[in-house]
């Protein structure tokens, strides 16, 4: 319809038909990409009394708490678990990745490339192939079922990707800086502390966001390493909430919004760094 109105015998018209088509496709795509978000938010805000499957596309009658109060009450302990897990795990794995990346880019020893390949493969493996021994190991060192146990998993299995990202970042730092520092008598670690770390703030933001998102969104380690529901991260709690028949589904939708909020906020406010991390790491586990 719109395209027809524009078919006037003038030159720029051809472009505008193309533009109209582009916009039609883009608007349809926007509707598709926003649809699940719309469903979650709209139904999360509905009260238990007027939430029904046949009206799930309607807006809520009034914007009050909806399912959010109950969802927050149920999920808050698990949100806390997730935070207690994700913050130390992100910091430790980023820091170790920075040290490794510095060594592998600036102080390459013979055979380092081959070892790095073996290291990197660790990021891609299906973790199912290590879960059973991992659980036994964590039981032996008494970290099974605990947040520190989860932190250990995320740090170790995060090392390959943080190392890769920092290695690529430091490869772009001129070698002259290292040479200048070593002329001044700085040691290998001294150069890392005094020269490289101050330079790597942008890389820490990118890697930190990448790790924060990956660890927060993890499900497999959480569900296998921590059997006690009270100690589980929020992704597992949300899945339990969703499978429970005693909970209204407006609460489930509100719970999904709550569980998504931390990574969503990081994405909304630091999206630029998120995209850079994607291009640098270009992998989702």
């Amino acid at each position: 319809m719109i395209a027809k109105q524009n078919t006037l015998p003038r030159k720029p018209v051809k472009i505008s038909i193309g533009m109209v088509l582009i916009w039609i496709v883009l608007i349809l795509a926007l509707l598709f990409y926003l649809m699940p978000v719309y469903i979650m938010v709209v139904n999360g805000f509905k009260e238990a009394t007027n939430v029904s499957l046949s009206t799930m596309w309607n807006l809520p009658d009034s914007v009050q708490g909806g399912g959010f109060a109950e969802a927050a009450a149920r999920l808050w302990p698990n949100m806390k678990n997730s935070l207690l897990m994700v913050i130390p795990a992100t910091i430790i794995s980023s820091f170790l990745g920075a040290l490794n990346g510095y060594l592998l880019s600036k102080w390459k020893f013979p055979g380092a490339d081959i070892l790095f390949l073996f290291l990197l493969f660790g990021f891609f493996i299906p973790y199912q192939a290590v879960l059973l021994p991992l659980v036994r190991f964590l039981q032996t060192i008494h970290l099974y079922g605990t947040i520190p146990g989860l932190i250990l998993c995320h740090v170790i299995y995060g090392l390959p990707i943080t190392t890769l990202m920092f290695r690529n970042y430091f490869a772009g730092v001129p070698n002259e800086l290292i040479e200048a520092a070593s002329v001044d008598g700085a040691s290998m670690l001294g150069t890392f502390w005094k020269v490289m770390l101050p330079l790597s703030v942008p890389a820490f933001i990118v890697v930190g966001i990448f790790q924060f998102t990956n660890i927060w969104n993890d499900f497999l380690f959480g569900v296998t390493v921590v059997p006690n529901p009270a100690a589980q991260p929020v992704t597992i709690a949300l899945n339990n909430l969703s499978g429970s028949f005693s909970v209204d589904w407006n609460v489930v939708m509100a719970g999904a919004v709550i569980a998504a909020l931390p990574t969503a906020l990081v994405y909304i406010f630091l999206g630029r760094y998120f995209v850079r991390g994607l291009l640098a790491g270009s992998v989702k586990g």
Binding site: A29, F118, Y157, G185, F219, S242, V266, L278
Partner: protein, 349 residues
């Protein structure tokens, strides 16, 4: 390597560095290696040690809660059991079908959106951010949302009614659209009869080699989540192609469409290869999304290897069988990832 051997070059290095600007190579290499050693040890144990242990279990008699690490005779008996299971056969079929639908959708949407956004547009950046947004969410969150969207009594089916599609169909004398989505156990385009002609053994299988309809909604949800990533990678790739290249093609008389088909898309081949490897490996490992959205599905129509391993390992305690399935997953992922890692490494040298 004895400790004295390792320590000596270190002390030498610190003395030499005061007199000479360049240190002896050996000492620097040892220092660097020693600092990386904790990482290597951790990976050696947690990745390669644990994998070896899992391989051993996959060959063992350990099939109950009581640990039994003795090797089972014949050696690959657990693998033979695994591949004889109709459920596992269904899992392999589902993985193939899921991979095809999911990758087709991710590439069509991702590349399509990247091309559409590859021009000056009102709110172009905002749209790009919206398309990538699902990628920042947890698979569990999207699984929960899509589960309700594809609920046969809600979501899409209600939308068909609201938009008047079903009223129109009824008026035309056609049955209204009310698909069962992930609850539909139907397997279409079954190849069993055709295959049985060539391999008579196929005729005895309980599993239908075809397209299980229930896996399609799961592939749509996965495509929704990862196509933005494909788009972002292609946009990143397009940014490295200079405007002169496009200009040259236009001067040669190429239309806008031809510029993309003949010039830009072929130049993006390295991005396409990376994406193929990454998406394929994601699809071989897919777990959380399916587990929260549909679970194993009717007649294992949406079951996948990762769910099989999880249930056999932590619910059925069939440890040897679960380990065999996990090792099969590892081999499949390795076949995709290892050539890619080696290839990209050779390039960077």
């Amino acid at each position: 390597m004895s400790t004295s051997e390792l320590v000596k070059p270190l002390t030498e290095a610190s003395q030499v560095s005061k007199t000479k600007p360049k240190r002896p190579l050996l000492s620097v290499h040892w220092q660097s290696f020693l600092l990386m050693l904790p990482t290597y040890i951790a990976i050696a144990i947690f990745v390669y040690g644990f994998i070896s242990f899992t391989i051993w279990i996959s060959l063992s008699n350990w099939r109950t809660l009581v640990r039994d690490m003795s090797l089972r005779e014949p050696l690959l008996a657990n693998y033979a059991d695994l591949f004889a299971m109709p459920r596992w056969q269904a899992d392999l079929r589902n993985t193939v079908v899921f991979t095809v639908f999911f990758m087709a959708m991710s590439f069509v949407l991702g590349l399509g959106l990247a091309i559409l956004l590859d021009r000056k547009l009102f709110a172009g950046t905002v749209m790009r951010n919206i398309f990538l947004f699902p990628y920042a969410l947890s698979f569990v969150v999207s699984g929960v949302a899509w589960r309700w969207i594809f609920n046969p009594e809600a979501g899409i089916n209600v939308l068909f009614n609201i938009l008047g599609i079903n009223a129109a169909l009824t008026a035309l004398g056609v049955a209204p659209l009310q698909p069962g989505w992930a609850t539909d156990p139907t397997v279409v385009l079954s190849l069993n009869h055709a295959l049985a002609v060539i391999f008579p053994a196929v005729g005895k299988l309980q599993m239908q080699f075809g397209i299980p309809l229930a896996i399609v909604p799961v592939a749509i949800a996965a495509g929704w989540q990862l196509s933005g990533f494909v788009m972002a990678m292609y946009i990143g790739g397009m940014a490295t192609i200079s405007e002169e290249v496009r200009e040259a093609a236009r001067i040669d008389g190429a239309t806008e469409w031809q510029v993309y088909r003949r010039v830009i898309i072929p130049m993006l081949a390295p991005v396409t290869i990376s994406l193929t490897v990454l998406l394929l490996h994601t699809s071989l490992k897919i777990f959380d999304l399916v587990y929260t959205m549909t679970g194993t599905g009717p007649g294992f129509a949406t079951d996948v290897p990762a769910i099989f391993v999880f249930e056999m390992m932590f619910k059925a305690t069939r440890y040897n069988l679960a380990s065999a399935a996990a090792i099969f997953m590892l081999i499949a992922v390795g076949c995709v990832i290892i050539p890619y890692l080696i290839g990209s490494f050779k390039e960077s040298d």
